[in-house]
Each structure stands twice: as C-alpha cells, then as structure tokens.
C-alpha cells in the first residue's frame, strides 16, 4: 500500500492533488466526471466583497500550449456565497478551500471574516495576484510591503489555515514569499497566471477585451517549477505548487521541486477527469519507483 496522504498546516489530505481556483467552479459541474471525495482538496473560485460582473467578452485566447483569460473575478459576492453556495458544497468529502480576493485591504478582511464563520471551510486562499483587476489585484501581489500588510490584516481575523497565493509577475518570488510569511501565512501556493497578451493580426486588435490577461497551462510550467523550487528553499512554510500540470509526471516534478501538494487548473477544461488520472498516476509512479509514501518525495530532488 502506497501512502498518498499528506498534511499541510492543519489540512489532512487524502492525496496531494487539489483543483485550482477559477478552473473548477464550485465543484458541481465536475460531478459527472469524477468523485470529488477522491480529491485532496478543491479550491473554489474567487469570492469578493460584493457582486462582480467580471470583464467584457472576449475573455479568452488560446496560445501555444496555454491560454489567456481575463474573467476578472466574476462572482456574486461573499454574502451570496455564504447563503447560496456554501450549503451546496459544505458536505463534500474533501477539503473545500475558498479563494478570496478584493480591491482593498478592507474588502479582503471583510470576506475573510465571513468565511471564517463557515465551519466546513478549513482554509482560505488569499488571491493577492490576479492580474485581471485593475485596482488592487496587481499591486498587492507585486509589492512586498503591501503583500505583508494584506496578509497580516487577514491573519488578524482569520483563525484557520491561511494560504497566500503568489503572483509570478515579480522580480523576486522569494522576496514575496518571505513577505507573506512575515504577514502570517501558514501555507504558500503558487503560481497564479503570468501576465500576457494575444493579438488577432487579421483584425489588428487585441483578442481580449482587457488587452492583457493571465497565461496558464503547460507553457508556464517551467516558470512555475522554478518559482516553487525557489520559494520552497526560501521559506519554511509548506508550499502548494501549480502551473501547467497536465498529468502525474508533471505533478511529481512539482513535488520534487518542493511542493507538498499541487493544484490542477487549466487541464480540467480539456479533461474534466484529469485529477483522478493524476491521483492514480502518482500512486503508480510511487509503486514503480518503490516510494512508500508521497511525503518522501517532497523536495526530494537530487542535485
């Protein structure tokens, strides 16, 4: 028997495979394709203080081995979430984590306070990195002092596990990691999307209504792996790695680079059952390589 379980912070996970915020809805749409109870955790899409319509269409551009999105945090706000969504998801047999976002520190704090009351939500993931929203989003995740500040403010009101999700659009990811640990982060997750742009040459226009958007998918995997490796060496808190994971080998690469768990994002769009294959693939890989517990692999790079 191979032991796939992992503990990060206070989160007990059946296996290290989670789903990434914004790519898994509230889990509901995936029920046709997989058993949510077999996931290590799911991170639901960003919740903000109030209703947000998000950005105008078009919000998507396909790129080589990836895609750009500029969804822009479309959601109905935290009160709607607490009242309408939480009851639907609170009994999922997995760790249900809420990704929260805001334009001001006050908004982050307000949302965190309300989520803190929800018994079956063991952790929040602070999205200080979404590049789609003009105000706030960009700045929090790219200036270390601001990152510390927002983390500390949320830390004060949030009593359970506080995951902070880093933006890759920075000169030094280690500096950002240290900044959020200083602010009180229990866990770091990374990477969010790289800021990119697509142009439709024939129409002579940007493809996205917002001109720029967030790049995800296998194209960003090398950057993500590098950052996970750098961060896991720079800080002591556990790291959740993501960026372009399409299969079990990719997941194992992130774990070897230092991640205690991984999140799968864009791959879910192409194969909504991919996370199950990744769980099974990690198990098979461990069997083949005579690894008894996936814990042994975390940061297990020979270099």
């Amino acid at each position: 028997m191979i032991d796939l379980s992992i503990k990060i912070g206070h989160l007990n996970m059946k296996n290290p495979v989670m789903t990434a915020s914004g790519t898994f809805g509230y889990g509901e749409e995936y029920r046709d394709f997989l058993d949510l109870g077999r996931l290590g955790g799911i991170v639901v899409k960003a919740v903000t203080g109030n209703n947000r319509d998000g950005n105008a269409y078009p919000r998507m551009a396909e790129t080589p081995s990836g895609m750009l999105n500029s969804v822009g945090l479309q959601n109905k706000g935290v009160d709607y979430f607490v009242k309408e969504i939480y009851p639907l998801i609170k009994d999922f047999d997995t760790n249900v984590i809420v990704n929260i976002s805001g334009s001001t520190i006050e908004e982050y704090v307000a949302v965190a306070e309300k989520i803190n009351e929800l018994e079956n939500i063991p952790a929040i993931e602070l999205n200080i990195s979404c590049p789609n929203v003009k105000q706030g989003g960009m700045a929090f995740g790219t200036i270390s002092s601001t990152a510390t500040e927002v983390t500390a403010a949320v830390r004060k009101v949030y009593k359970k596990d506080l995951i902070v999700k880093l933006s890759p659009n920075v000169t030094s990811i280690q500096e950002m990691a240290k900044a959020v640990v200083d602010g009180g982060a229990d866990i770091i997750s990374l990477i969010n999307t790289l800021l990119g742009m697509a142009i439709d040459a024939d129409k002579r226009r940007p493809v996205l209504s917002t001109v720029t958007g967030g790049l995800s998918g296998p194209a960003i995997k090398p950057v993500a792996l590098r950052m996970v490796w750098q961060v896991s060496k720079a800080v002591k808190v556990p790291v959740i790695g993501m960026g372009g994971i399409m299969n079990a080998t990719d997941a194992i690469e992130f774990i070897l680079a230092g991640a205690s768990a991984v999140q799968v994002g864009t791959a879910n769009f192409i194969d909504p059952g991919v996370t199950m294959k990744i769980v099974e693939g990690i198990e098979a890989w461990c069997g083949l390589h005579k690894v008894g517990s996936v814990k042994e692999l975390v940061g297990g790079l020979i270099s």
Binding site: G25, D32, G54, R59, M67, I270, P272
Partner: protein, 257 residues
C-alpha cells in the same frame, strides 16, 4: 436541462468532404448516446495538432439514435479543423457531450430557419425535429456561389428551401439578410437563426420590427464548454450568462438585440 455529461472515444464512420472548406464527420459511440436536442453541441479533442490546446466546440448537425451516431458539419478555419478534416474511417475522436441548452418549440406551427455560412450546422437537426412536431418549416440559407451549396436535398425533405448566393448563380442574389422574404408580408411564429453575429443581429432586428419571436445560437469562444471557466459569457437582461450552459441558444429578447 441536459443530462449527465460524458467523455467518450467515438469512432469515425465516415468523413465526407462536401467542398474545399466543409466536411461532415459521422461518429459512432461505444455506448448508447443520450437523447440529443437540436442546438446542443459537443467538445472535441484534437490530438495531433501541436497548436490546438483546448477542445473545439461543434453543434450537432445530425443525430441518429438507431445507428447510435452523431454528425458534425465542420468548416475548416484553422489548425484544429484542418486536422479534423484529415481523419480517416476507424480513427477515434475524444468527445464530450451533451453540452448546452437547445432550441425551443414555437408558439405556432410556422417557422423560418435562417443560416449563413457554417451557421447551417445546427439547423438541419432543428428542421427535422420541428417537422416531427408538425411544424411547417421554411429554410433560408446563404452561400457565396451555386457550387458551394450542399445538402439542399435533405433540407428539401423538411420544408421549403430558399437560397441566396452572393453572385446570384442560384436563388436570389445577395446576402440572406437581404432576401425578399423579409420585405414580403409573409409572417412566422418564430425565426431561428445561426451564423456570424452581424448576420444574426440583422435578422433579429428585422424579426423585432415584424414582432416575430427569434432564437439565435451563439458561438462565443470557449475554454471549457461545460460551465466552469466563465470565458464564454454574453450579457443578457438577467446578467452575464454562460453561452455553453445557459446557451448556446438565446431568445434575442434576452440578449437585448
């Protein structure tokens, strides 16, 4: 609305090239297909194209519950559709279905279907379905030239067929939107329309003036096709709606067109 979503490897029974830019894939499922409705679509994985990362959405053009097959009418646009055009009999294709809502029944028994370009794809299935419900169907399609026209015979089995060609080599000369039927006093209980946004908006506009109900099928670009990415949204009078879930079929009233 739509049932449980499935991912399956379908087998290519036939790849029929209609002209240089259009072909029909007939695909057979290993298990019983769900009861598809007109307007629904599928998401196809294009495996062997290096630059095709996401799935590609295509409407159900034909559905044969007896043969357990679906037919997709595909226009070659870029890398993905080019690769699909090369599929051979016996090849497998990974497909997700059933996706989206569907066209609805009209209040009366007399409707007009308008298709421009590849917008005809969902109309054949719709026409057949309407005929089964005893609705009288008139089909208006627009083409570049007479030589481009395909499948006219099958449409004729469903009702009256009107045609426009840009060079006038068959039917009326011009675009579908300038067909005399819109200027005539013929009226319908509903107009169904698929094609480029501009064309659909023009048809919606004419329908509105005549007080005719109108349903259109949108083709917003999609990342997932099953409601999770929120990339395909369209604004409606009740907020942003997902074209892949609440659509692809919308009444033009909802869209405020």
């Amino acid at each position: 609305m739509s049932g449980k979503k499935i991912l399956h490897d379908l087998v290519v029974l036939k790849n029929e090239h209609l002209n240089k830019w259009h072909f029909i894939l007939e695909l057979q499922a290993p298990e019983l297909l769900p009861q598809f409705l007109p307007g629904q679509f599928v998401q196809v994985l294009v495996k062997d194209s290096p630059s095709t990362f996401l799935r590609r959405p295509f409407s159900i053009h034909g559905f044969d519950p007896v043969k357990n097959t679906i037919r997709l009418l595909i226009q070659i646009k870029g890398e993905g559709t080019s690769h699909l055009s090369l599929l051979r009999e016996g090849d497998k294709l990974n497909v997700m279905y059933p996706l989206g809502n569907s066209f609805t029944l009209p209040s009366g028994k007399n409707v007009l279907l308008v298709g421009g370009g590849c917008g005809v794809a969902p109309l054949l299935f719709l026409a057949r379905w309407l005929k089964e419900q005893d609705v009288k169907v008139t089909i208006l399609t627009g083409w570049k030239r007479k030589e481009d026209i395909f499948e006219k015979d099958v449409y004729l089995q469903c009702g009256e067929v009107l045609v426009t060609t840009e060079n006038g080599s068959e039917g009326e000369m011009g675009m579908v939107t300038s067909h005399t039927i819109f200027k005539s006093d013929r009226t319908f209980d509903r107009i169904y329309c698929c094609g480029p946004d501009r064309m659909m908006k023009a048809v919606a506009h004419m329908a509105k003036r005549k007080g005719i109900d109108c349903e259109v099928s949108l083709e917003n670009t999609m990342a997932c096709g099953f409601g999770v990415c929120l990339c395909c949204i369209t604004p409606t009078n009740h907020g942003n709606q997902r074209v892949c879930m609440e659509g692809p079929v919308f009444s033009t009233k909802e869209l405020g067109w």
